[in-house]
């Protein structure tokens, strides 16, 4: 502990350089924590997805729809106990930048299939009774300051839904009961959208509940077999696989985000290492003096590593705190409703700070070795 003061004083030797190094570590940890939170968000959705629910889309792509007759055909498949369906609406609320998920759903069956969408009985009844009613997640309502009974208008963003505005009345503000459901979306009556659609009677995807998750593989095969060689061939997956695939539409996120994080950490490592080396070079005489006073090489090594560690950990803590403040700030709506659990959790904070420890130690090892191996007489002669 008695050397802590010495380390602190050394770190404050060049305040600007120390501050810049801290900021570079802070940025690295910020990016790491923010990118991790994206991956964790997708993972959480997959993990919380029901093992009893299957999702059927067109085999070509989920952007293509299929006829409503598919829902009845799926309902009659052995092992299926319930069916619902939904469409991606893609409407615009005032401005295209106000992006959030809007889904046209069959209300009764959808709420039955997704008990994680939590409404009061009054809200549920009001929503079911109003063809132009909608329900919104509490996160979304908070973001836009919506209240029950508010009127909102969406412009259709996809040509199949026509060109006229869609007015809605907010009949419920739901809470998300699990990570499988986000609280940043809007649900409304499929019939309302279908009335103005061209062609009519189209659904984006069908969600099926199976009686026995152990039989899911057979049910999946049976559903897809039923539509094989038809103009609307299907691809059925478990909800978990569907969620993972939804994430993978953005590419191999793990690899992409992991590569970005690695590049940031490595470049920060080099920056911090170079800074520490400069700092040690400037202190050659002081280190030689300390060695003359009897400081063992190991103590000098540990002092330099301690300084690197201090700068990096303070920077790391700043970065983690910043990531938590910025990414977790609901008002910023960074997740855009796509990732329900989008936020920097405690584990990511711990890993981020651990990363800064790694940066601090590794960046300081070479300069610390230089310092501890210094030949006292040569170092003193350099300035004499």
């Amino acid at each position: 502990m008695k050397f802590v003061g010495l380390i602190l004083k050394s770190a404050r030797r060049s305040k600007r350089r120390t501050a810049l190094t801290m900021i570079s570590v802070a940025l690295a940890v910020f990016l790491f924590a923010a990118l991790r939170s994206v991956l964790d968000g997708f993972d959480a959705v997959s993990a919380a997805s029901s093992a009893q629910r299957l999702v059927t889309i067109r085999s070509t792509s989920m952007i293509f729809s299929m006829p409503t007759s598919h829902t009845e055909a799926i309902r009659s498949t052995a092992g299926v106990t319930d069916v619902t369906w939904a469409n991606w609406f893609g409407g615009i609320y005032k401005d295209p930048k106000n992006f959030f998920g809007q889904f046209a759903v069959d209300p009764e069956s959808y709420l039955r299939m997704y008990p994680e969408v939590i409404l009061t009985p009054e809200e549920k009844a009001a929503f079911l009774a109003d063809r132009t009613g909608c329900i919104v997640g509490d996160g979304l309502a908070k973001k836009y300051g919506w209240q029950l009974g508010d009127r909102i208008v969406l412009q259709p963003g996809i040509p199949v839904y026509g060109s006229l505005d869609y007015p809605f009345t907010i009949r419920g503000i739901y809470r998300a009961g699990s990570s499988a459901v986000d609280n940043q979306s809007m649900l409304f009556h499929w019939k309302y959208a279908d009335e103005r659609s061209s062609p009519k009677g189209q659904v984006g995807w069908v969600v099926t509940r199976v009686s026995d998750p152990e039989q899911a593989t057979q049910v999946i095969a049976a559903i897809d077999q039923r539509f094989a060689n038809s103009p609307y061939e299907t691809k059925t997956e478990t909800e978990q696989a569907f969620s993972a695939q939804f994430a993978s539409m953005l590419g191999n996120l793990n690899l992409l985000l992991g590569s970005v994080a690695l590049a940031v950490v490595l470049s920060t490592l080099f920056v911090a290492g170079n800074t520490m080396a400069m700092s040690v070079r400037e202190r050659t005489t002081e280190i030689a003096v300390m060695r003359t006073l009897g400081y063992p090489a190991l103590t000098i090594f540990l002092l330099v590593v301690g300084e690197g560690l201090l700068v990096a950990v303070v920077g790391g803590a700043m970065g983690a705190a910043l990531a938590r403040a910025v990414v977790n700030a609901e008002f910023l709506g960074l997740a855009g409703g796509f990732i329900p659990l989008f936020g920097v959790n405690n584990w990511n904070v711990v890993v981020g700070i651990g990363l800064s420890v790694f940066i601090g130690v590794v960046a300081a090892v070479i300069p610390a070795t230089m310092a501890s191996r210094l030949k006292i007489v040569d170092a003193l002669r350099r300035v004499a």
């Binding site: 010495l6 002081e286 003096v289 003359t292 009897g294 400081y295 006292i376 004499a384």
Partner: protein, 229 residues
């Protein structure tokens, strides 16, 4: 009784393939409580001899015994521990750590000991008191004059109560008044506190303060004389 015994000590440096002899077969004995002045022209090997006594350099040949310890055979780690306990070193350019206050500079060698914070404070204030600069404990190097800086450096050298004080041209960077004050202080440490001091100097006035003088030329002892005192 002899505190320092150098037996046939030689030192040479290698620069590329060339071996440069600096000291050649030097044999010296210094008694405890002596104030030895080492004189000689530049390149005569004075500072090298001082570095060997400090254990920050090793002889190419010969042996160096200080007290009961044959230091030329110690490992690097053992030598560092030995230096911390037995050597106080005063540099020509003071070599204070600029980010530390006078107090913290003097405390630096004590951080290697097991003393408590209170004990360290007592030791530091005593050392600063001896060199007459206790009121400057919170000052940084840039807030001190050259003479004051050297006083702080002397306090740092004596704070562990070392066996031997080594001074490498301690007045070389000071004006005449400050130099005289520093020399008086060293003399006091020798006479009042019975410190054994080896001082390298070019300055005949400084050398006059020593109780014994040795002259080096081209790495060999050319003359040994008792000082005026």
């Amino acid at each position: 009784m002899a505190l320092i015994e150098l037996r046939n000590v030689s030192k040479s440096y290698k620069r590329d393939a060339i071996e440069i002899p600096v000291l050649d077969g030097v044999t010296i004995t210094v008694d405890g409580g002596d104030f030895l002045g080492l004189m000689g022209p530049s390149g005569s090997g004075k500072s090298t001899l001082l570095n060997l006594l400090a254990g920050i350099d090793r002889p190419s040949r010969g042996t160096i015994r200080i007290g009961d310890t044959e230091i030329s055979s110690l490992s690097e780690r053992a030598l560092a521990t030995w230096r911390a306990r037995h050597i106080g070193f005063i540099f020509q350019l003071y070599n204070l750590i600029p980010v530390l206050t006078a107090f913290e500079n003097v405390e630096l060698p004590l951080l290697l000991t097991n003393l408590t914070k209170t004990q360290r404070r007592d030791h530091v204030m005593t050392a600063l008191g001896i060199v007459g600069i206790a009121d400057r404990e919170k000052h940084y190097q840039r807030q001190l004059s050259g003479g004051q800086e050297q006083r702080v450096a002397i306090a740092r050298a004596i704070v562990t109560d070392p066996t031997l004080l080594l001074a490498d041209e301690p007045t070389g960077d000071l004006d005449a008044k400050s130099a005289a004050e520093v020399l008086t202080l060293l003399q006091r440490l020798n006479q009042e506190y019975k410190k054994t001091i080896v001082m390298v100097t070019h300055d005949p006035h400084a050398a006059e303060r020593a109780t014994h003088l040795l002259h080096l030329e081209k790495g060999t002892l050319v003359e040994q004389a008792a000082a005026a005192q």
